[in-house]
Assembly symmetry: C2
Amino acid sequence: MGGTRSWWGWGHVEDAVGGAELDTLLRRVRAALPDAELTGHRPPPVASLGLPPSRAVVPDALAPLCSTEPGDRAAHARGKAFRDVVRNLHGDLASVPDLVARPRHERDVVAVLEWCTGRDYAVIPYGGGSSVVGGVEPRFDGHPAVVTLDLERLDRVVEVDTISRAARVQAGVLGPHLEDQLRPHGLTLRHFPQSFAFSTLGGWLATRAGGHYATVLTHIDELTESLRVVTPSGISASRRLPGSGAGPSPDRLFLGSEGTLGVITEAWMRVRPRPRWKAAASVHFETWPAAVAATRDVAQSGLDPANCRLLDAGEAFLNADVAVGGGVLVLGFESADHPVDAPLRRAVELARAHGGTVPAGRGRSAGRDGGDAIPDEAGAGAERAWRAAFLRMPYQRDALARHGMIVETFETACTWDRFDALHHAITEAATGALRAVAGAGVVTCRFTHVYPDGPAPYYGVYAPGRWGSTVAQWDEIKAAVSEAIVAHGGTITHHHAVGRDHRPWYDRQRPDPFAAALTAAKSALDPAGILNPGVLLPAR
Amino acid sequence: MGGTRSWWGWGHVEDAVGGAELDTLLRRVRAALPDAELTGHRPPPVASLGLPPSRAVVPDALAPLCSTEPGDRAAHARGKAFRDVVRNLHGDLASVPDLVARPRHERDVVAVLEWCTGRDYAVIPYGGGSSVVGGVEPRFDGHPAVVTLDLERLDRVVEVDTISRAARVQAGVLGPHLEDQLRPHGLTLRHFPQSFAFSTLGGWLATRAGGHYATVLTHIDELTESLRVVTPSGISASRRLPGSGAGPSPDRLFLGSEGTLGVITEAWMRVRPRPRWKAAASVHFETWPAAVAATRDVAQSGLDPANCRLLDAGEAFLNADVAVGGGVLVLGFESADHPVDAPLRRAVELARAHGGTVPAGRGRSAGRDGGDAIPDEAGAGAERAWRAAFLRMPYQRDALARHGMIVETFETACTWDRFDALHHAITEAATGALRAVAGAGVVTCRFTHVYPDGPAPYYGVYAPGRWGSTVAQWDEIKAAVSEAIVAHGGTITHHHAVGRDHRPWYDRQRPDPFAAALTAAKSALDPAGILNPGVLLPAR
């Protein structure tokens, strides 16, 4: 997994899309969107960015943790959303952290918070930097300096309890390195967000990340046994408990707090044996309503598949190489304890009752499996193709961004009774905005997670942009779809967090008394107001 | 389900233990504890209690909601713990609410909070009054008056969304009346705490009640889609969402807040079709360690049984009429969608691998079932006997309390790696305290819920007391076991809540920064500090 991290875009420089892959990608875009200009642009060299000098005054004791190297500051200036990448490509780094601090242990985190509280420096906790909502960007400059606190050195699995199937893990560990450390114990966290390779446990916890499981244990919240959080007012360490009813859950206050209440330094996580049995199938539908109805039946069946991903026709065609009228439902079951053919059969039966068909040869498979670090459901053709594309998507997004394309995603969740109206409103808003800002474009939909009471739909947008204007174009599209989401009963985010970008809509969906309670809690924990200003709550 | 509610003890007066049932009960006690005195005592008449006059000044507009009737005030003076019942039996009502207000709709709740905020009256939100932790008791009298806010008139299912399988329910509805209203829709909440008949949805939500499911969806939290809460600072209404990652969960702040942050007036709850397939089995073990190991294997198998209750030998003998050396594991699966014989077979196989045996004739059954309002797993003999005893237990507890017995329960949860030491410490502390205060006694254990990372053990204590001293005797036992729980990594409560009685130990297990955050949140929502003073946080 080694490589050179890109300062401006996703992942490793060495893995960027090029050569034949780029040719194919551009050819496909030209076929779908003949008006796209598709001129290639290069990222500017870091030396040309002209970053302002660091304003931070560093105490000697903390100097060994701190970097003011321009490439480091530039790489930590923002997350990895489309609008982040494009602004980087244009050399637009108006706002960068004054320095990057890399604590070696929890005491360093305490020391950095003390230092910054004393000097009123803003502190931005930073995991893998994969935020797509402005969660790590020093956008509101009301402080004399901004320190990005990068936890990458806190990357160890400290303790494994094989009896209770839990592991004590430092927050700065990246996904693959976490799995590498669990593998010798035969265990896995089995939390695989799309950002897996370049996001950290602490980031997943702070943003309530969505992971591998399509049903029941969908968010990282459910895999969390206890948390350790350094706040400016002291360390909060919750008790390792499988369940408790003692007052409101302390962990649930910090899960989703996005670095505004404290810095998560470690957690006891619920882990599990690697799956030995898997069974998967893809079911094709002629119409989207039939596909949705079938997915709802499966979601409400109590079968609780590990995978239950519905791709609409556009998503199936673009990313799974399947031509189908209505959609493809990818089902997967897995277990470390018992065969899972029977629940798969029943789920397929439910889907067939809505007119679903399982294509011969590539539809279904089952068997034993050693389990993989990277998710790879056994067998099902569409699922395999889709998984491979899934992990390449951010790299391809960057390649298309360099060619003036608008390529971005957004997601929500709602109850089933509202889905048709919400989906219609989102699609209308997105296509309307695309026509207005880009003349044309494609909107695709998939369900990443489903619940008995509703789905979590995830949308992709592809449109030809005007180089130099694609951020403004995207912002217009995003505002339109966000209005539709909030007006039709969805959440502004099912698993991408709030950050700074979702604030206007988050503020409208959040109950006012809860906002008051959260503001008060923040004042108690972070009285100087230095932690991630502007995220979740207004910057001062 | 009709009857006259007892002012001093559990449930309906008409259902009190008497006649042959009482004779049998006392005979069994005499056999186990020959030194028990077992003289019967009667509850005092309400008229003899000499309650102080009500201090509350009621505005005319609210007068129709308010009762100062002595029986009403006495019945609302405390919950239904052993120590509550015994104090009632002794006519010890030192502290009673000044009046009971019964809002007819949410506006009334708002009006009562405004009135009480203006006059600095304490307000105790009250559902079914089944607290066993001093959660509804006006113990700390720092206010000019105490108003108990009984939500019994808010008892309707307002709306049912059969598409999303959710129902909008008023908080004051008792369990059976809730199920009665869902039944015509073919739906059920399937949340059956032992207090089911005399506890309310709002009480379950405010205390994070544990319910029917032994695994996964154990707490009411997981069945909650959204909440509506009247706080003195405004109404908090969360959005109906199947899942969301938008900041810390607003609902999770109110779930478990025990009436200290606001009054829950209604909730959208996740409901489900009544189960059609059930399968159950009882597995007997010669030793307790084998029974525990088998239960852990089942809990970690991913089979997720609806029932997975381990009874130790004492519990099996006393409450399920089964003589066994180590314990009985009662397993149950259920589904509205598919047969559940296969997962039961696998769970039994796992249990057999630890030496478990399924007794011929009464061990196992499976079949279709219409579903019942009162939980009633199909078939398994021990389970059936245990269920029947389960619902009678509070009545029998009262009968024994009237005969000078100490009869009470307590519960916790811990990770599997700590269970043996915790169980040993609890058993030692309990038997030691029993010897010290009562000379003898019996301690039994069962698991009410199990998780992949640990069990929730539940203990029963039976000992001969000295009439007039049984509260003090129990308090000594309770303090000893609570110390053992907190010292050995358990939670002071898995599903009985904190109230006023668990405060000393809750304060020790709760992270200090979280306490500061919760205190600040309360100040923001309830600036006058009138809501349930002394619960979760110190009374002023």
